[in-house]
Symmetry: C2
Subunit: 285 residues, 2 copies
DNA sequence: GAGTGGTCTAGACCACTGT
DNA sequence: CAGTGGTCTAGACCACTCC
């Protein structure tokens, strides 16, 4: 009579975690507040230490709370989100057509995120790699074709943690015409990639951003200084020329707890205003 | 001599997890392959069951492996990703201007994702809510202003799991002019929201998508049938009229392991081709 | 130094999978 | 039914925080 066919009894750790979550969502526990200690949990729910731990660990893995040795776990406070807008693509294109003085001055200020520029360390590494099947398909070149790979990172100087990270791929055949592009000593190039490509006769006419997400590896979490339970946003930017041919791929990762990707899409006006009819129209008043 | 000041010894669970991860990344363990059993792990790394569990649990929380009672944990196989493209916004706008017959036929086929339409159950619920501070700010109305809230869900009929879920908010003041819009019995409305708004004289001229991500709650993971370690993509779509005024907000959630959000951004052509100059240009040959 | 959480062990019971 | 992983307990040691 008492035993249900499924879910005989919800595991104690889940019940604890749900109760705690409700305390948080109801506002009983506010961001920054400390959770009950493990000892208190064992008492209140009459369970073992390990079950109490498991409950807290679950909430941690869901990104709800912070933790640390010897410190009481606390309800996580939301970080301000840095907005990365798709409008930057057009701005960079406009900039590329400006005189060099102007291009040089506007250069890398883009990457600031509430930090002054001297607190950040920028690195760029150039090399040539063979196109993987994945990259070759998008760039429409044979697998194994040589690609110029450029890796960019910005780090917080004091904490040593990653602030931004991206990898760009361009077919060598496209840029071999201008050896200056192949030299990482020329970074930061005034006017960015779009100006670089202009020197070999390429104009980017369309950008496609492909966004998805996943959990970081242990190593990634450490490099970014990510708390547990924070996913990464994965963004692949494909730049196309006037013929719709992909000329550059740029893969970037962003911590989801402090990033918002914004895409602004203009729509063409209606040529004729939509007809004002629909099912039920004019039936009952 | 042997004891370092920090990180005296990396926790055994992390070492196990890293070793297993390397096996996966090197291709030694391929997608679908079973991991070593807990017993084997305790032997190979001479640790306790719980440490072996902890290592496997870590990989699970990073989305690398699947698991289940009595079943060996396996290397997760990537799911095919459903692409949601920003080009749909323009397509929906174009459709709204078509005759009703055409609008009605193209209606809801959009949501298919490799499933036939009769395997899916669509629900829509309408009600009126007061604008939260958050919504009010974006829609530029006073807090507490009445909003038409429309909740849409699609479910896999056989498994009962969520396939898509979104919530839309429109100020009541905008749509009160056409009571038909307030009636959920009129779903699916032929031509969608953009046609609905056209009946009260509103034309969407710009769409802004704001994308971020987070881990699902326990309840969300269950509703979507999400394996552990899979984040949600959070997408807020803001529709603007010709004056740049926000007229609709639509919040949607997507499982990151089976979704790709794609944004296509056209760029305006250069008016003047960029000058071919940069630092170092013409110095050494 | 007292109290906290992080790591780890040993051992138990149960639900489920596969044969 | 044997073997597996999921849940849970009790108890230990250590690193760290805060007082």
């Amino acid at each position: 009579m008492d035993s249900q066919p499924t879910a005989v009894q919800r595991p104690i750790q889940l019940r604890i975690a749900d109760d705690l979550r409700m305390s948080i969502e109801s506002g009983e526990l506010r961001p920054g507040d400390a959770l009950p200690t493990l000892g208190e949990i064992t008492e209140r729910w009459s369970c073992s230490m390990n079950s109490a731990r498991a409950a807290v660990a679950l909430l941690k893995s869901q990104g709800l709370i912070t933790s640390g040795r010897g410190k009481a776990p606390r309800v996580r406070e939301a970080l301000p989100r840095v907005v990365r807008s798709s409008e930057r693509h057009q701005e960079e294109k406009d900039l590329a057509a400006r005189p060099m003085r102007e291009r040089a001055s506007t250069g890398e200020a883009e990457t600031t995120m509430g930090m002054s520029i001297q607190d950040q360390a920028f690195t760029s590494q150039y090399d040539t790699v063979e196109a993987t099947d994945d990259l070759a398909r998008v760039l429409d070149v044979p697998s194994g074709e040589p690609l110029l790979r450029r890796r960019y990172q910005a780090r917080d100087v004091s904490a040593g943690r990653l602030l931004s990270s991206s990898v760009s791929y361009i077919p060598r055949g496209l840029v071999d015409g201008n050896p200056a592009i192949l030299d990482e000593e020329n970074e930061p190039w005034p006017g960015g990639t779009q100006h670089q490509l202009s020197t070999v006769g390429v104009e980017i006419m369309q950008v496609v951003d492909e966004v998805t997400g996943r959990m970081p590896t242990t190593a990634e979490a450490q490099e970014w200084g990510l708390p547990e339970g924070v996913p990464l946003l994965i963004c692949r930017r494909i730049s196309l020329d006037g013929d719709g041919k992909a000329v550059e791929i740029s893969d970037a990762t962003y911590p989801a707890d402090r990033t918002e990707l914004r895409f602004v899409i203009p729509l063409r006006p209606w040529q004729t205003y939509p007809p004002n009819d629909y099912p039920g129209k004019g039936e009952a008043a």
